[in-house]
Amino acid sequence: MKLSRVEIITSTSKIEKLKNSIARFGISGMTVFQAMGCGVQLGTKEYEAEQNEEPSLLPKEMVMLIVPTERLNDFLEFVKKELYTGHIGDGKIFISEISNIVRVRTGEEGYDALISGKD
C-alpha cells in the first residue's frame, strides 16, 4: 500500500481542534512540532497597513502524519475545511511520498507499522 506524508503548518490556536478532527477522521498517529515561521507576508498581521520589510517569525504548530495515499484526497478536503477561516494564516499543507516505515519494536514495515498489530 502506498503511503503519503502530510505536514500541516497552522496557527497555534487551531491545534487542539485540528488534533481532535484528525482523530475523528480515523487517524490516530500524529506528531506535533512547535515551530516559528512566516509565509509570503513575512509575518505581517493581516490587519496591518504596511508589510514587514524583514521576516518576522510567528509561533506556529506543525502536524506531521502518514496517510494511505488512496485516502489522501479525502483527508486533504477534510483538513482544508477544518482549518479554513478565510483569513491569512489558515496554514499550508505539504504532501510527499514516503518509501517505507519501520516500527522499531516489532520490525514491521509499511502500512503494518502504522496500524495496531497483534504483538
Binding site: 498581521k45 493581516e46 490587519y47
Partner: protein, 479 residues
C-alpha cells in the same frame, strides 16, 4: 475587554438560529399580505407562496455558501459584495436594501403594534405612538445588554408566535373553531397569470431569513446550523401560513377578508369570538416584538460590519462592555422612535414605500446570487464547508426567479409603475451618496472589487486603527 467579548464561545444553538429566522420573516404586515393574497385568488395563493418560498430557500442556500467562504463577517452581504463587485454596488445594496428599507419596515411594524394595543385597551386614551415608543425603548435596552438577552427574548417571542399561529391555523383548517364556518369556493382563480402576479406579494411573506447570518459567530456548529436554521425557518413559516390560508377559507368571507386592514384580528374574531381577538392581538404583539427586536439587533451588527469596512462612519463599529454595538443600536432604534413619534409610519405612503424597499431587498438577493457565481469563478478551489448543490443552476434560477418577482411586485400595473419610478428616484439619491462617500471617505474605485483577504482583514477591530494611522502618516509626509 472588547477583544474578550469578540472571542466568546458560541452559545446559541439551532433553535436560536430558527427563532431569529422566523422572528424576522413573520411580521404583522406579512399577516396582512397573507390576507390580501388569499382574498384575491383563494387557496391557489398557496402556489404563489410555494414559488416564493422555493426562491427564498435558494437565496438562503446562496447566502449560506457565501458565509461558508467568508465566515463570521458581521456585515454579511456588504462584505461579500465588496469582495465581488466593489464598493458602489455594496453601498447601494446595503444602505438601500437593508438599512433604510428595514428601518422603515420595522417602524411600520411598531405602528401596527400601537394600533393593535389601542384597539384592545379602550378604557384609557393613550396614543398609539406611546405604545410604539415604549416598546422600542425596552428593545433598545435589551439589545444594549448583548446577545444573551437578545437570544432569550428572541426565543420566547418567536416560539410564542409559531405556536399561536400554528394552533390558530390548525383550528381553522380543521373547522374546530367555535365560530360558524362559511361556505365559499376554495379557489377564486386558477389562472397561472393571476397566481404569478401574486408571487411578488407572496415573496414578502418569506423575506429576511438571511438575518441569521450576522449572528453566525455566536451559533454553535455554525456550518450546519446556519443553512439549516434558514431553511427550517422558511419551511416553518410556509407550513404556518398554509394552515392560515386554509383557515381563512373556512371561517372568513373572501370579500370581507380583502377589505379588512387587520385580517388576522378578523380571523381570530370569526374563529373563536372575543377570545380569538385577544389571542390574535397577543400574536400580533409577539410578531411585532420579535420582528423589531431582530431588526434592531441584526441591523446593528450589519452597521457595525459596514463601519469596519469604512462604508459607514467608524463610530458605528464601537461595542460596549457587553459586546453590543451600542452606537448602531441607539442610532437604528432612535431612528425608529423618531419615525413613530412623527406619525410617519402610520401613513399610507409608507406601506407603498415598504413595497419599494422590498424591490431593493430583492435586488440585494439577486446580487447575492451573482456573488456566489463570481466567487466560484475566482476561487474555484477554496474549501467551502457548504456549497449550493447543482453547480450554477440554483443560483441562476434564484437570480432569474427573483427578477421575475420584482416584475410581479404588484398585481396592479399602475402601482407597479409607480414603485419602479420611486425605486429609480431612491436609486439615484443613493448613487449620489455612494459616489461621494466612496470617493471622499473610502477613497476607492467605485466598481473595483477588493481582494478577499483584505475584506477578511477588515473584520479585525485593529484594521481601522492601523489603516487610519497609515493615512495620518501619509498626510504628515505630504506636509
Amino acid at each position: 475587554m472588547e477583544a474578550a467579548n469578540e472571542t466568546k464561545a458560541p452559545n446559541m444553538g439551532l433553535a436560536s438560529a430558527i427563532a431569529t429566522g422566523v422572528g424576522l420573516i413573520v411580521a404583522t404586515s406579512c399577516l396582512l399580505s397573507l390576507g390580501q393574497g388569499s382574498a384575491a385568488i383563494g387557496t391557489t395563493f398557496i402556489i404563489s407562496m410555494a414559488i416564493a418560498c422555493a426562491l427564498n430557500i435558494i437565496t438562503a442556500l446562496s447566502m449560506a455558501e457565501l458565509n461558508a467562504l467568508m465566515p463570521n463577517l458581521t456585515g454579511g452581504l456588504a462584505q461579500y459584495t465588496l469582495a465581488c463587485m466593489g464598493p458602489f454596488v455594496s453601498v447601494i445594496a446595503m444602505v438601500g436594501g437593508y438599512l433604510v428599507c428595514n428601518t422603515m419596515i420595522a417602524s411600520t411594524e411598531c405602528a401596527m403594534f400601537g394600533n393593535t394595543l389601542k384597539s384592545v385597551i379602550t378604557q384609557v386614551n393613550i396614543p398609539s405612538s406611546a405604545y410604539c415608543i415604549a416598546l422600542l425603548v425596552v428593545l433598545i435596552i435589551s439589545n444594549l445588554n448583548g446577545v444573551d438577552v437578545f437570544a432569550k427574548i428572541q426565543d420566547i417571542m418567536a416560539y410564542g408566535l409559531i405556536i399561536s399561529l400554528t394552533v390558530m391555523g390548525f383550528l381553522g383548517m380543521t373547522k374546530l373553531g367555535s365560530g360558524t364556518p362559511v361556505k365559499q369556493p376554495a379557489v377564486l382563480s386558477s389562472n397561472f397569470t393571476d397566481i404569478a402576479s401574486f408571487c411578488g406579494l407572496a415573496f414578502f411573506l418569506f423575506i429576511g431569513c438571511e438575518f441569521v447570518i450576522p449572528i453566525s459567530n455566536k451559533v454553535k456548529n455554525a456550518r450546519r446550523n446556519i443553512p439549516l436554521g434558514m431553511i427550517l425557518s422558511l419551511l416553518i413559516v410556509m407550513g404556518m401560513q398554509v394552515m392560515l390560508v386554509l383557515g381563512f377559507h373556512n371561517y372568513v368571507d373572501w370579500k370581507q377578508l380583502g377589505r379588512s386592514t387587520t385580517p388576522h384580528i378578523l380571523y381570530g374574531s370569526l374563529l373563536l369570538g372575543k377570545a380569538g381577538v385577544i389571542w390574535m392581538a397577543i400574536v400580533s404583539i409577539f410578531a411585532v416584538t420579535s420582528t423589531v427586536n431582530t431588526i434592531i439587533s441584526s441591523l446593528s451588527y450589519i452597521a457595525k460590519g459596514m463601519a469596519k469596512i469604512k462604508m459607514l462612519p467608524k463610530v458605528f463599529a464601537k461595542s460596549n462592555k457587553k459586546g453590543a454595538p451600542y452606537v448602531s443600536v441607539l442610532t437604528i432604534g432612535g431612528a425608529m422612535i423618531v419615525i413613530n413619534a412623527t406619525g410617519l409610519s402610520t401613513s399610507s405612503q409608507l406601506s407603498f414605500l415598504i413595497l419599494t424597499g422590498c424591490v431593493f431587498w430583492m435586488i440585494a438577493y439577486v446580487i447575492s446570487h451573482c456573488n456566489v457565481l463570481i466567487l466560484r469563478h475566482r476561487l474555484p478551489k477554496a474549501p467551502r464547508t457548504f456549497k449550493v448543490p447543482g453547480g450554477p443552476v440554483l443560483p441562476l434560477i434564484g437570480m432569474i426567479g427573483t427578477v421575475w418577482m420584482i416584475y410581479n411586485i404588484s398585481s396592479n400595473p399602475a402601482e407597479r409603475t409607480n414603485i419602479y419610478l420611486l425605486c429609480l428616484i431612491i436609486f439615484a439619491a443613493l448613487a449620489v451618496y455612494a459616489v461621494i462617500w466612496i470617493k471622499k471617505v473610502m477613497k476607492r474605485k467605485l466598481f473595483k472589487a477588493l481582494p478577499l483577504k483584505e475584506v477578511m482583514a477588515m473584520e479585525n477591530e485593529l484594521y481601522l486603527t492601523y489603516h487610519d494611522n497609515k493615512s495620518e502618516t501619509g498626510r504628515q509626509r505630504k506636509i
